[in-house]
Symmetry: C2
Subunit: 299 residues, 2 copies
Amino acid sequence: MAERLYGGIEAGGTKWVCAIGTGPDDIRAEIRFPTTTPAETLGQAIAFFRAHQPAQLAAIGVGSFGPVDLNRASPRYGSITTTPKPGWANTDVVGALTQALGRPVGFDTDVNVALLGEWRWGAARDCDVAVYITVGTGIGGGAMVGGRLVHGLIHPEMGHIRPVRDPARDPFPGICPYHGDCLEGLACGPAMKARWQTPAEQLPPDHPAWELEADYLGQAMATLLCMLSPERIIIGGGVMSQPQMFPLVREATQRWLNGYLQHPRILANPEDLIVPPALGARAGVLGAIALAMAAAEGY
Amino acid sequence: MAERLYGGIEAGGTKWVCAIGTGPDDIRAEIRFPTTTPAETLGQAIAFFRAHQPAQLAAIGVGSFGPVDLNRASPRYGSITTTPKPGWANTDVVGALTQALGRPVGFDTDVNVALLGEWRWGAARDCDVAVYITVGTGIGGGAMVGGRLVHGLIHPEMGHIRPVRDPARDPFPGICPYHGDCLEGLACGPAMKARWQTPAEQLPPDHPAWELEADYLGQAMATLLCMLSPERIIIGGGVMSQPQMFPLVREATQRWLNGYLQHPRILANPEDLIVPPALGARAGVLGAIALAMAAAEGY
Ligand SMILES: Nc1ncnc2c1ncn2[C@@H]1O[C@H](COP(=O)(O)OP(=O)(O)O)[C@@H](O)[C@H]1O
Ligand SMILES: Nc1ncnc2c1ncn2[C@@H]1O[C@H](COP(=O)(O)OP(=O)(O)O)[C@@H](O)[C@H]1O
Ligand SMILES: [Zn+2]
Ligand SMILES: [Zn+2]
C-alpha cells in the first residue's frame, strides 16, 4: 500500500503556504501564493492538493490567521470569525476543505500550529509547557501544556496584553485600533515603522528602536514566565530575525523579572529559554503537517 | 474492607488546615493551626493524621505556599524552596510526610490545589482551561489545561506581572521587594493597607480604594484572557470577599479588553467568567483531598 502523506496549510493574512509530505526532511511539494479572496485562496490550496498524490493524502492540517472558532461544539467550528480583513469574516475553512478533498482536516491558530511543529520536530520537543510568539505584521502567541494546545474560551491573543510604557521615553501612543498601546500596538513591525517613520528592516542594528522593542518584548516574556512558567519560549516573525534582538530580549526579560524567579535557565542560561524556531520560517507549514497527522488519527 | 479516606493539607504561610474525608460533603475531621517552624508545623499535621483512622488513610495531598519544587526529576522535589519566610527555605514537605505516614503524598502550589478542588467539585467543573487567583496576604495564581495543572519551568507566579499604573492617579510605588509596583506590590491586602494607611477590611465599600483595586485586578484578568483564554477565572482570598468587588472587577476587565475578545461570556455574561470559589474558603483543603485521590491512583 502506498505510504500516507499529509497536507499542511499555513493560512496567513498575507500569504498561504501549502505543502505535502511527512516531515521536515520529506516535503514532496510546496507552493505559496498571496492571500486574496476566500474563494480564490481556498481554490488555489484545493487545486494544489488535488494535483499532488491525492490518493495518498491522509489528512490536512491548517494553521490560520484569526480569530478562529476552535470549539468543536460550535456551529462555526473551523471558521475564521471576526477578522477585520475584508471579505474574510465568517469564512468556513474546514468546511470548504472537507467538502473539496474528503479528508480529515485539523484546524488551529497559526501560532498554535507553529508551536506544534516545534514541539514535534524543533525547539519544544522536551517541553511540558511551551509558548510560541510571532512578532511580525502583528503579534500573536500560542501555548501548549502537556502536549495539548491551549484553546479555552476562544484561543490566546497574546499580542493584546498591555506593557508598561514610559511616555517620556516612548511618547508613541500605539497603533492597535482597540487598545492603542497594547503589545502589538507598540511592538509589531508596522508599529515600529509608524514610530520611527522607517520600515523596521531598514533600521540599523544600533538604532535605539531595538532596545525599546526588546524592552516591550522582555516585559511580555516576563509576563509569560509569571503566568505560565514555560520551559521554552520560541519567538518567530520578521522583527526577531534581526541578530541583535535575541540577546537584547533575554537581557530585558531578566531585568523585568529582577531575580524573582530563581531558576538557572532564567538567571544563567536564557539562551536555552528564549529561542528562535528550530524550524525557522517553516515552523508554520510543518506544524500544519503535524496537525494533519493528528487529524488522521482522529484527534 | 473499610473505605479509603484521603488527607488534605492546605499549607499556608500563616496557618495550616488539615482534613480527612472523601469530599465536600464527607469531612470526618479537620484542624487548623498557625504556621510556626517546619518541625512544629509538620509535627502537628502528622499527629493529626496519625490520630484519625490512620489505617484507612490512602494518601495525602498538600497545597503549599511557595515557591515549591514540582519537578519529579529534581532532588528537591516536594520542597518549599526559596521562600523568604524565616526557617522555611528548603523544607522537604513530601519527604517528612512520606517518612512519617508511609502513604503516597501529592504536592502542588496552594493555588493550583484550590483550582483542582474547584475543577473537581466547584466552579471549574466544565472547563478545559481555568485559572484560580488568590488576592490576600499575597497574590498568586494557578492554571489548568485539559485536566492538567500547569507546572512548567517552576510554576506560575501570577502575582508578579506588572500592571499599567498611572502615577498621577496612584503615586504608590508598591511593596514588592523585587518589583515595587507588580500586581502583588500594588494590590494585595498589605499593599492596600500601606497605600491607604488603613487595613483593607476597614475601608468602606464606597472608598476609592476599591475602584483602583478593581482596575489593577481587571488588568490582570484581561492579561489572563489574552494569554490563556480561560473559560473561567476563580478569584479567592480576603480582598475579594468585599461584596462590591466582583462587579467592579468584571467591569474593569471589559474596559481593559475594550471589545477585542468577542465572546458573549466576556461581553455579556462576565458573571459566568469571573467568579468566587464555589467551595468558598474550603477550596484549598478540599483541593488537597482531590490531590490525595490522584496520588492514591499513582498520579
Ligand atoms: N529582517 C527584518 N528586520 C526587521 N523587521 C522585519 C524584517 N523582516 C520583516 N520585518 C517586519 O516584520 C513585518 C512582517 O512580519 P513577518 O513576520 O515577516 O510576516 P507576517 O507577520 O506577515 O507573517 C513587517 O512589518 C516588517 O517590517
Ligand atoms: N473582608 C475583607 N475585606 C478586605 N480585605 C480583607 C478582608 N479579609 C482579609 N482581607 C485582607 O486580606 C489579607 C489576608 O488575606 P486572606 O486571603 O484572608 O488570607 P491569606 O492570604 O493569609 O491566606 C489581609 O491583608 C487583609 O487585610
Ligand atoms: Zn491591542
Ligand atoms: Zn513582584
